[in-house]
Amino acid sequence: MNEPEKMDLITIYILSRQYHVPAGSTILTALEYAGFKLKKGVGCREGFCGACASLYRLQGDYKLHGGLGCATVVQPEMQIVQLPYTPAPKAIYHLEELEPVPEVFTHLYPELYRCLSCNTCTKICPQDLQVMDYIQAAVRGDLEQAADLSFDCIQCGLCSARCPAEITQFNVALLARRLVGRYLAKKGKYVEDRIKEVEASKFTAGYQELQDLSPEDLKKRYFERELNNLIF
């Protein structure tokens, strides 16, 4: 019989209560080990959906840190709370009726102009984005820079929760990215070409062949498919 592995447990605080969890846990797995059943504040568990926004403090450090629950490894004496949702105003607009001009912000998100350039948003961003810089790009009307710098934003909401000017950074960025994607970004010619190919029935025969296969043959084909992308 195998001896159970001796786990290295560390002390952390969840909602100010002390727990002992395995070293190397993420905030999410630490919460689950401690007995919390996660229904909110959890999602893809791989740093992409922005659901598991968490706030934490470290021993001997006055700073308030922001991190993703799925991607932040717990440390001894860490104090943790989750912030699964930050209420945010979302302007209602129709993209087709907008123009890619700075004025979209003055009338859809006027609070943007309260920005103090204090960098509080940048300090809390779990994705290490230059949040203040993309907000200032929006203030300046530079939609492309706002879209570019905010590209990896996963809308976790921590910036908006901390912002003293009460701006909702991620919605401003979303508008910038949508406008750039729709009106300013270069259109990929390969997309147009591919659409033409599809309409010219280039792939019809191939799809029909797959649809005619038995489930066993389909499975065989799937596992033997050519993997030309490095996933790992």
Partner: protein, 134 residues
């Protein structure tokens, strides 16, 4: 119009608070009225800048309900002309800040029409939000 007031500790406290927040020695004001005469916005004000300072000297918290310091455009004309070197613009800012820090905004951002918002240069919005929202 003559009004009788009795000065109490709370009046002294209000005067001290505004003096500290503005960084101005309001007790230096001799009520000469130069600021009132110079102010380009005085026609829109309910009390003149010098009356505003008088009320602060007397520690009358009711001055916070006046329109005067909201209509101030921070043009600093009073600042350069006061013979006693007081900066009434800073006193106006202190009164605004007392209100704004209680989360009482003078303008509601969502009340700006989208037509106006599209027309206004960003400098106007940034300045107005700094002076009139908290």
């Amino acid at each position: 119009m003559v009004r009788k007031i009795k000065l109490q500790a709370k009046n002294r406290e209000f005067c001290r608070k505004i003096s500290e927040l503005s960084g101005e020695v309001v007790m230096l004001c001799e009520q000469c009225g130069t600021c009132a005469g110079s102010c380009p916005m005085s026609a829109e004000m309910d009390i003149t800048p010098s009356q505003m300072i008088r009320l602060v000297q007397l520690g009358q918290e009711a001055v916070l309900e006046n329109k005067t310091f909201w209509v101030c455009a921070s043009c600093y004309t009073c600042t350069v002309r006061c013979p006693r070197g007081i900066d009434p613009a800073k006193v106006a800012e202190a009164l605004r800040q007392v209100k704004l820090r209680q989360a009482i905004d003078y303008i509601q951002i969502d009340e700006i029409s989208s037509e106006e918002a599209k027309k206004l240069p960003s400098v106007a919005l940034v300045a107005a939000f700094r002076k009139m929202t908290g």
